[in-house]
């Protein structure tokens, strides 16, 4: 058997696990690992400019490909810089393995240089973590880490490795296990047959059904099954922010996103439904508004891989714990032989009602913005959809531009919409776009951002140069923290406490030039389309579109809170439901 050092074992184990690329940043405690990386040929490494970006890039690599993202950082500040990205992945259940260097075993606890208790600091935001104590354990720990990260409800796993463990001075026999088994971890493989049957029955009896699908459908690769079930039941479908693309966004059965900034038809349909089929969604507070007023006449079927998500905020009438694809497959099989017939008359009335709402309140029927001289952020997103033929990977930062993208860019495929939904991490967009572009070298990748968010990870423009990542940055520049300002308008009498940049913004066009990229400034509406087409025609360049939009624009619809129900919404600055 081959003898390998700890560092070489780590690299070999990652290669044996099928890892193709790592996003990372070297440093003292990780140097043995980086030397092992240098001496191998299977795994590529992308050197970012800040560890937070490494985690976001690996996270988006995972979101777009379905594979587990891998991050490598050093101890101390390297590890703590990765924390925001780990928390982001944890909140959105993204499979990720983060390998952090640690000070040598005999120095742990001595406040050594660049020492931090990574396992302790990351504990509340990881699915699991390992501190490696013996180099011989590396292959098994790596196997376990990937198994835990990618199965059940996915999530990030931290593997903290003290420097002495990866030392080239000692070698060990290397053996990579084919399989690992953990007696304390057995994620459900299928749902309860009786519950699935009951659920289908309830759906067939429903007069006003609706399907509410979340990120679990995307993560669980169940879009095809969900779409098939929705078609067979002729049920309206709404997606959460995380679920966009799980059901085709341009389909007539699709009502748009639901929740705080959801469409009127989606929120109304939820509120007035009699049966809700929730799939891979978690009744988040940004969806439900006031839980006690949530959908008063609805019976709730809830399918989720994580039992802890079921009946957490809203009680489920028929809970089903299991992988969403397996459960939906079983439901589809049962449906083939179901004797019960749907009440077509009731269903027709339901659709009639929904279409009335659509005709009256639909986003595109009645734009939520007035057309003036200034460019409206909404029309930028609509144009982005047209110019990219609705087929781009769109990453987003956090704020108004994120909500505009979710509302005005219908995604027809899963894994195309990449955003930080749960944690709401500004700075996510650009490194995420890099991760996606690295995975799909020829794809169109657009990062929709604002002049606030982009500055939180703008250093990554340099990474784009080094690895030739031709992402397109669509910056909706309103010279303010738009979403903060919107809330200050609505709840704080327009007292703009620290939400304005005044004259302090950089010249983004010059900045792009400095990095060797292309910058395009757009201030006039009539120039927008031509410049956007020009931007996307530059297939091999990183391009930044600095688009000056109406700074007074708000995101609507918007839930009225506190104490509102799903149907209580602001439609624009003056009208409400």
């Amino acid at each position: 058997m081959e003898l390998l050092s700890g560092g070489d074992m780590l690299m070999r184990a990652l290669a044996d696990e099928g890892v193709e690329c790592i996003f990372g940043y070297p440093g003292g405690a990780a140097l043995h690992i980086y030397d092992a990386l240098f001496r191998q040929k299977h795994i590529q490494h992308i050197l970012v400019r800040h560890e937070q970006a490494a985690t976001h890039a690996a996270d988006a690599y995972s979101r777009s490909t379905g594979r587990t993202g891998v991050v490598l950082v050093t101890s101390g500040p390297g590890a703590t810089n990765a924390i925001t990205g780990i928390a982001t992945a944890y909140m959105d259940s993204i499979p990720m393995v983060v390998i952090s260097g640690q000070v040598p075993s005999d120095k742990i606890g001595e406040d050594a240089f660049q020492e931090t208790d990574m396992v302790g600091i990351s504990r509340p935001i990881v699915k699991h973590s390992f501190l490696v104590k013996d180099a011989r354990d590396i292959p098994t720990i790596i196997k376990k880490a990937f198994y835990i990260a990618s199965t059940g409800r996915p999530g990030p796993v931290v593997v903290d490795i003290p420097k002495d463990i990866t030392s080239p001075a000692t070698t060990f026999e290397y053996h990579f296990p084919d399989k690992v088994k953990l007696r304390s971890y057995t994620p459900a493989q299928r749902g309860h047959a009786g519950q699935i049957k009951k659920a289908l029955q309830l759906l067939l009896q429903a007069k006003r059904p609706i399907i509410y699908a979340g990120g679990g459908v995307v993560q669980g690769n169940a879009s095809a099954q969900l779409t098939e079930l929705a078609r067979r039941l002729n049920a309206p479908v709404t997606n959460t922010l995380m679920g966009l693309g799980a059901f085709p966004g341009t389909d007539k059965q699709f009502l748009g996103m639901l929740g705080m900034h959801g469409t009127v038809e989606a929120n109304y349909a939820m509120h007035h439904s009699d049966v809700i089929l929730a799939v891979g969604a978690r009744f988040d507070d940004r969806v439900t508004n006031t839980p006690s007023k949530f959908c008063p006449s609805a019976k709730i079927i809830h399918i989720d891989i994580d039992p802890a998500s079921i009946s957490k905020t809203v009680a489920a009438d028929i809970p089903i714990v299991g992988p969403v694809d397996a459960v939906l497959n079983e439901m589809l099989d049962l449906h083939k032989h179901a004797e019960e017939k749907q009440d077509q008359e009731a269903l027709a009335l339901w659709w009639q009602q929904i279409n009335e709402w659509r005709d009256r309140y639909g986003l595109l029927v009645k734009p939520r913005y007035s057309m003036g001289d200034m460019i409206k952020p909404q029309e930028v997103i609509s144009m982005l959809w047209e110019v990219t033929q609705g087929d781009a990977y769109v990453t987003s930062d956090v704020g108004q531009h994120q909500m505009f993208s979710a509302l005005y860019y219908p995604f027809d495929k899963p894994r195309r919409w990449i955003n930080s939904g749960g944690l709401g991490t500004m700075g996510f967009g650009l490194p995420a776009a890099m991760g996606v572009q690295y995975a799909f070298r020829d794809a169109t990748v657009a990062c929709v951002t604002g002049e606030g968010s982009i500055q939180m990870c703008i250093q990554e423009l340099s990474t784009c140069t080094q690895y030739h990542l031709p992402v397109k940055i669509i910056c909706l520049n309103n010279q303010a923290l738009g979403m903060v300002k919107q809330w200050q308008d609505m709840q704080y009498n327009s007292r703009y406490s620290e939400s304005l940049y005044e004259e302090s913004l950089p010249d983004f066009v010059k900045l792009m030039d400095a990095y060797g990229h292309v910058g395009i400034r757009v201030t006039k509406r009539e120039e927008l389309r031509a410049k956007m087409e020009e931007c996307f025609a530059m297939k091999d360049r990183t391009v930044f579109m600095d688009i000056y939009v109406d700074p007074t624009e708000h995101v609507y619809p918007m839930h009225i809170a506190p104490n509102g129900s799903m149907r209580d919404m602001w439609l624009n600055k003056t009208e409400r439901t």
């Binding site: 396992v119 302790g120 504990r123 509340p124 699915k127 699991h128 973590s129 501190l131 835990i148 953990l182 007696r183 304390s184 971890y185 994580d306 039992p307 802890a308 009946s311 957490k312």
Partner: protein
């Protein structure tokens, strides 16, 4: 309502901190906590008492089960069970008090395990309520020091929490 949750978990470094971390992170209370390895050295058994309504307890058990280190758990209070707590207590005992306290210890079926001219050290086991009652009976004025182990529990009858 007070609940006693018994947890079988991997006897690994970090396992205890994950459980304790979960409670603080999600805002659950821990009233008492005991943990020690079992007859199988790879497993630890933890007993924790907490207070909450059914919804909260359901969330606690679900989140505990989600921890990779947790192998199995049971809410002992759902069924007939036995709970015990150990208390070591140092009381002032001089003059006529000595006989009085001795009688009290006998009534509660405790043992005096160390004696000086003016102090008794007493060992007492039982339910938490019994320990509270002894504390009351002796009177706060004469108590010098109290150590309680926290509750350990086990199901009555044939039911076993094992692999």
């Amino acid at each position: 309502m007070r609940r006693i949750i018994s947890v079988l978990m991997e006897n690994e470094p970090g396992a205890l901190s994950r459980v304790v971390g979960l409670f603080s992170q999600r805002g659950y209370n821990i009233e008492s906590l005991t943990v020690a390895p079992t007859e199988d050295p790879t497993l630890s058994r933890m007993t924790l008492t907490t207070i909450g309504d059914d919804h909260k307890i359901e969330q606690i058990t679900k989140h505990l089960n989600r921890l990779i280190d947790v192998v199995k758990l049971v809410d002992l209070t759902e069924d007939a069970h036995i709970e015990r707590e150990l208390m070591l207590i140092k009381v002032r005992a001089s003059g006529a008090q000595r006989a009085e306290i001795k009688r009290c210890v006998d009534i509660f079926r405790g043992q005096i395990i160390d004696v000086t001219a003016s102090v008794y050290t007493i060992q007492l086991t039982g339910t938490s309520e019994k320990l509270d009652a002894f504390y009351e009976a002796v009177g706060e004025a004469s108590i010098l020091e109290v150590v309680r182990s926290g509750v350990s529990g086990i199901a009555r009858g044939e039911k076993v929490l094992g692999l």
